[in-house]
């Protein structure tokens, strides 16, 4: 068993599949991270993905252009995020409940629309939709092991990678990142500094909508070549769990999404050696919860440790730190 796992992990094909199945999760996790940093939980990511997947397929089939499809899909996804923002930020509705409601609207609405357009409920196979291209990267493709993993992936996989950098930039390099952080960490402080928290939250919602749009379009126009009902398959929810594991950073999102992607891909392989498929499929979700719990636990412990240390120094009144900070 261990031998088998080691064999799988060392194969480039495994990592190819990992990257592929991690990409959509990574995209939505980034979306969940950036909204969470601004202090709003985007529970509607699942719905965003569903609408993006459907609208992408419909528009690409209607126009014959995969790029227009992608654009329309992203627009649909952003729309969902904006509606969430409207209810949660303008009408003061509970953000989580509104998100859940929007997901329901999406689950039913996508099938409803698909049926109204094609007469089919389950799959868009009657629509001649297009597929996003895969890319072969010139030099990298020739590197022995890495080339097989990194090159030849769907364009969205690379967009996911670029998104990590982009979100990292937004959060750490751009001024808006500080405003996002201020809004999420101390809303009153942000307001007192003249920042409009609602604007910031809307901004993050739009970003998360774009990211979920990419992810949704990937699912129906790359990952597979059709929209199928419920195609998001809970990835939006997984993202909200992974967001916690990510610890609020773009780089953390990679690890969090990989946690799911690695086990998800491994599950396919473990099935091959006769592990019970149903049990194996529970694994990625179980691992995500585990990661979720471990991360919060470690964070709490670290916090307590910090407090204890501070007390030790305060009690002994050596207070070197205090002096240093008071002094100057």
């Amino acid at each position: 068993m261990i031998h088998f796992i080691a064999g799988v992990v060392s194969s480039s094909n495994y990592w190819f599949i990992v990257l592929r199945s991690t990409a959509p999760i990574l995209l939505v996790t980034l979306g969940a991270v950036i909204t969470a940093q601004a202090g709003i939980m985007n529970m509607a990511l699942e719905g965003s993905m569903l609408w993006a997947a459907l609208v992408g397929v419909i528009v690409s089939a209607a126009t014959g252009s995969v790029w227009l499809g992608l654009l329309a899909g992203i627009a649909a996804s952003v729309m969902v995020a904006l509606v969430l923002g409207f209810f949660a930020l303008k009408l003061d509705a509970n953000a989580v409940l509104s998100g859940v409601a929007l997901n329901l609207v999406a689950t039913g609405g996508t099938v409803f629309v698909l049926f109204a357009l094609t007469g089919d409920k389950g799959i868009s196979s009657s629509l001649p939709s297009k597929v996003l291209p895969t890319l072969t990267i010139p030099l990298i493709k020739d590197i022995p092991w890495i080339g097989k993993v990194v090159s030849g992936q769907n364009i969205i996989v690379y967009i996911a990678a670029i998104s990590v950098v982009a979100i990292d930039f937004i959060l750490r390099r751009f001024t808006v990142g500080r405003r996002i952080k201020a809004t999420g960490e101390n809303l009153d402080a942000a307001k007192a500094a003249g920042i409009d928290p609602i604007k910031i939250k809307f901004f993050t919602l739009v970003i998360s909508g774009i990211l979920a749009g990419f992810a949704g379009c990937f699912l129906s126009m790359g990952y597979t070549s059709n929209f199928t009902s419920g195609i998001a398959a809970g990835r939006g929810y997984v993202a909200n769990a992974a967001q916690v594991v990510a610890g609020g950073t773009a780089v953390g999102s990679i690890f969090a999404a990989l946690l799911f992607g690695l086990t998800d891909a491994m599950a396919t392989y473990l099935q091959n050696i006769g592990m019970m498929p149903e049990l194996i499929q529970a694994l990625p979700y179980a691992v995500t919860i585990l990661g979720f719990v471990v991360v919060t636990w470690v964070r709490d412990r670290r916090e307590n440790e910090r407090k204890r240390k501070l007390f030790a120094s305060a009690a002994t009144k050596s207070a070197t730190k205090k002096e240093k900070l008071h002094g100057v």
Binding site: F4, V8, S11, N13, Y14, F16, I17, R20, S21, T118, G119, D120, K121, G122, I123, S124, S125, S126, P128, T134, L219, Y223, T224, S225, N226, T228, S229, G230, I231, A233, D264, A265, T268, Y269, Q271, N272, I273, G274, P277, E278, Q281
Partner: protein, 359 residues
């Protein structure tokens, strides 16, 4: 459309007014209930196609109607009830309705319930149930795959003797395909190894694609056969992505990808399970006055229900001939094919293990 409805209503009232007259019915209403959804380019679409055949033959003498019910089994019985109460003469439904049919059919003895892809539990006078010899379909696919994987002059075929299988669920109906597939492949290629996965769903195309990708890429499978309903369409996506072959199931799936030649070119053939034909034939019999209620039939290649779809041009003539001969033999009952229905769980496990390419 409206005229049709009015006519349907007229017909309906005619049927309701003169039930006794219709010894050999001249007119009939048919209702097809679909579990899951259409668009699978297979099983369910095939069932819907039967309605077309019926319309073609009987024209204005029949009204046909279908509805997609999804996976919520709670609504199956009320839907059947509805069909019965509205006086439909013939109701088509799949084996997923088994318990609902048991519940409802006795209440509407005038309606004939045609249940396909499984036998009804118990004996009910107005239920006609049809079981298919899935294992024969599997056997056909296995034979093709077993031969093709040796045909290494084709650049898409690698030297390893590994083929793949993606099943919907680890259940008897699917394992029947699989058992036949193994037997057929072994018959044609004694050193065959098979890599297999179950999607655990008949709808999750993405998962099926993931699994097929693993089979193609990590285990060097040249050909993957699927029996996973709508989810199985993901296998074709994987075939396109890796440039390898796949075998379709239930209908001539290659012909359904007219707008996607890349996909169609990689589907070597499909093992057809003519749900459309069996339902049509059942209806013909009904119209000719035969009593079908209470019967359970087991149909396969002999009845022309299970057969190869036209072969892809990638299949060399020599293989084609050999397979056509095989198909004839099966039709004539000259080949013994194991069936999952007669095997214990252990036997199935052992069989799968013995050919598992991952072990």
């Amino acid at each position: 459309m409206k005229i049709l409805k009015v006519m349907g209503l007229l017909l309906l009232s005619a049927v309701l007014l003169f039930p006794a007259v219709a010894q050999t019915p001249q007119k009939a209403n048919v209702f097809l209930l679909i579990s899951g959804s259409l668009g699978d380019k297979g099983f369910n679409d095939s069932a819907r196609a039967s309605l077309e055949l019926i319309k073609q033959k009987y024209g204005a003498n029949v009204t046909v109607k279908y509805t997609e019910l999804g996976t919520d089994v709670a609504k199956f019985a009320p839907s059947l009830e509805d069909a019965g109460a509205e006086g439909y003469d013939v109701v088509f439904c799949s084996n997923n309705f088994n318990s609902a049919v048991q519940e409802v059919a006795p209440r509407y003895p005038k309606t004939l319930y045609v249940m396909y892809d499984g036998w009804i539990n118990g004996d009910i006078g107005n239920v006609y149930s049809i079981q298919y010899k899935n294992s024969e379909a599997g056997y056909l696919a296995g034979a093709l795959a077993g031969l093709m994987t040796k045909y290494t002059t084709d650049p898409r075929i690698n030297p390893s003797n590994v083929i793949g299988f993606v099943g919907g669920r680890d259940i008897t109906g699917i394992n029947d395909f699989f058992v036949g597939y193994i037997a057929g492949a072994q018959k044609m290629n004694s050193s065959i190894k098979i890599i297999y996965n179950y999607v655990n769903s008949f709808t999750d195309t993405a998962k099926a694609k993931d699994q097929a990708l693993v089979q193609y890429k990590s285990y060097n499978a040249d050909i993957v056969y699927h029996a996973a309903g709508r989810a199985g369409l993901g296998v074709f996506d994987a075939a396109v992505e890796t440039g390898k072959y796949a075998i379709g199931v239930d209908t001539d799936q290659a012909s359904l990808f007219g707008n996607e030649p890349k996909k169609a070119d990689l589907i070597l053939t499909s093992t057809m399970k003519r749900v459309d034909l069996t339902l049509f034939q059942a209806f013909e019999k009904y119209m000719s006055g035969q009593k079908l209620g209470g019967q359970k039939v087991y149909v396969g290649a002999a009845e022309g229900v299970i057969a190869y779809a036209p072969f892809n041009k990638a299949v060399p003539a020599s293989i084609k001939t050999e397979l056509e001969k095989l198909q004839g033999d099966i039709k004539a009952g000259k080949v013994t094919i194991p069936s999952a229905f007669t095997m214990t769980a252990d036997e199935i496990n052992k069989l799968r293990d013995s050919v598992n390419a991952a072990k």
